[in-house]
Amino acid sequence: MIVLDGVTKRYGDRTIVSEVSLELREGELTVFLGPSGCGKTTTLKLINRLLPLTAGRILIGSQDIAGLEPIALRRRIGYVIQEVGLFPHYRIFDNVALVPRLLGWPREKIDARVLEMLALVNLPADLLGRFPRELSGGQRQRVGVARALAGDPDILLMDEPFGAVDPQNRTFIQDEFKRIQRRLGKTVVMVTHDLDEALRLGDSVALFNAGRVEQSGAPADLLAEPATAFVADFLGGDRLTRLARLRCPDKLEAAAAELLAHG
């Protein structure tokens, strides 16, 4: 479990993240959702200490990350970003083998792990000798996921991971990723501004606005009972249709009843 407790990030007198407190459950996919500039990416980067906290604490398991060595911490947390950020001068094999090598795994174990990861993200093994620029955007994004999982981290942080994938393939890759995540039981934190993505993938959603969490909970709960006007507005006028699509008839009925009661 990851616990964010009063997490705050300021640059000078600008507050980017303000007293965010959340509990991210183990083995679940939690989405940080919100408009751009709402502090969701900053919060993500506080978890693997790419950015230093201004105030508050973050616990992984029961350990305060402030007491951990950042390099060691990052090696046990996978990281995927929209731009992928593969090393252009490393072949695919070496890109995926990066963290296992840093962790000092024996050679045979690394070789086997790289093959396993490539199969996991549905890429053919003959790509291993290629350079990133010889792959398509979608293939590179898969390699990015393989690289992030190669060191067998318990936690995976993802920043708009499918934002650059073309719309035809996006749904497919999302579903595929969701299956992988379920199977591996990783704790995933995914940042997105895409409502559909958040509702489709998230076990839990934290909706950010201006550095604060407006509401967090299961997607169906947010849709059925938006806590604030901002949440209702962000979810849109068709939130009940979306809720129906999540196939939770009981909640839909309750929300419809409430809507009728309040006019």
Partner: protein, 192 residues
């Protein structure tokens, strides 16, 4: 020339690494290197000879080496800063997030990715350095420049021509070799 280039490369790369992430420092370093390059070579020799003379190193090779090194710093420094800054920030962010220590990010990610651009700077430095080395014959540093100056002084155009052609050939060759190295680096690094 053979001494000057490594000297310049070490200084320029060191400064480039130090200043690549500090825009203000980079501006100052580039400004200083720019001023040095603006001083005409004959004038620079005029400055260096009395300066080094006070150390007993007035004429001959020392001022030549120092002058060529000073001129070579600018192109290498400029390209080092441009090259290091040009590395995709997403790659550096990913490297940090994977748990690469800062030194490893510099040596294994930033420098290799900036290498083709840095080599382009070295290429400029080599061609310019060969030209200045030729002029350095004037202050007794020897080399092919002696033929040119000697030929002119003795009204012996064939000798001057031979020197000039050889110097030009050397510059062309240096340029070609480094152009090849630059392409090779790009290819080996999977960048082109």
């Amino acid at each position: 020339m053979l001494w000057a280039l490594p000297l310049a490369a070490v200084v320029a790369l060191g400064a480039g690494l130090a200043f690549a992430d500090r825009p203000r420092g980079a501006a100052v370093a580039l400004g200083v290197a720019n001023v040095l390059t603006t001083v005409p070579s004959v004038a620079l020799f005029g400055l260096l000879i009395p300066l080094l003379g006070s150390l007993g190193l007035g004429v001959g090779r020392p001022p030549a080496i120092l002058a060529v090194a000073l001129y070579s710093v600018l192109p290498i420094l400029r390209n080092a800063i441009v090259g290091l800054r040009g590395v995709d920030p997403a790659v550096i962010e990913a490297a940090r997030a994977m748990g690469l220590p800062d030194a490893a990010i510099t040596w294994r990610v930033r420098l290799p990715l900036a290498l083709p651009v840095i080599l382009a700077g070295v290429r400029t430095a080599v061609v310019m350095g060969i030209g200045i080395t030729a002029i350095a014959a004037y202050v007794g540093a020897g080399g092919l420049g002696r033929w040119v100056f000697g030929g002119i002084r003795r009204s012996y155009p064939e000798m001057a021509l031979a020197g000039a052609l050889l110097i030009s050939a050397l510059a062309f060759a240096g340029d070609a070799v480094l152009a090849w190295a630059q392409r090779l680096a790009g290819r080996r690094l999977g960048l082109a």
